[in-house]
């Protein structure tokens, strides 16, 4: 069975600084996807960034980047130049590759607070 672990329940960062959120996962699959989703207060969850396990290059989306270490089964999210709007719960998730559906296995989340 797939599992996703986020060991940081809460984190805080000053505006404009950089913060890294940690995630580890376990899977017996060789091909899979990893995701970071953001859930702002009282708003819907949205995709931040995704990584295909077969790609060695780390995914980047503007201020968001990942450090994907496949052998270590680690998938951390780096947020650069943090903004107040980045305050949210961040979920790390995995999904098997090759299926017709996107069944996500989530971690327990990290609550990030960006301080002014």
């Amino acid at each position: 069975a797939q599992t996703v672990t986020q060991s940081q329940p809460e984190m805080s960062v000053q505006e404009a600084e950089t913060v890294t959120l940690s995630c580890t996962y376990d899977t017996s699959e060789n091909n899979y996807y990893l995701f970071w989703y953001k859930q702002p207060p009282s708003r819907q969850m949205i995709l931040v960034i995704r990584q295909e396990a077969y790609k060695q290059q780390n995914a980047t989306e503007n201020r968001f980047s990942v450090n994907f270490q496949k052998a270590a089964k680690s998938f951390s999210l780096k947020i650069s130049d943090s903004q107040l709007g980045d305050t949210a719960m961040y979920f790390c998730a995995s999904a098997n590759y090759g299926g017709a559906t996107n069944k996500l296995i989530f971690g327990t989340g990290t609550l990030l607070a960006v301080q002014p």
Binding site: Q44, M45, R50, Y97, A100, T101, T108
Partner: protein, 113 residues
Amino acid sequence: DAMVIQNPRYQVTQFGKPVTLSCSQTLNHNVMYWYQQKSSQAPKLLFHYYDKDFNNEADTPDNFQSRRPNTSFCFLDIRSPGLGDAAMYLCATSRGAVDTEAFFGQGTRLTVV
């Protein structure tokens, strides 16, 4: 504009009284999912529909049922809610391939009294 809409945002129901949560989508996506998110826990998939095909997760209690009368709508029915069913229920959609984004609604917060 909201693309996945869940109603109501907050639902209070009595112990043992059937309750239905609603989800609609304007994305015309093939797949619709229901996740249960209890406090301080990871969201957990209950079941999903691929078009009209229903797929139940192995550990989803029989107390939970779902209906999808058409592409746009999906319902979560809890036949006899217990106190342990209090949670946020998230509806999501995707186009039907694992490399596409899942779109979530804002969730329905269910309280059982």
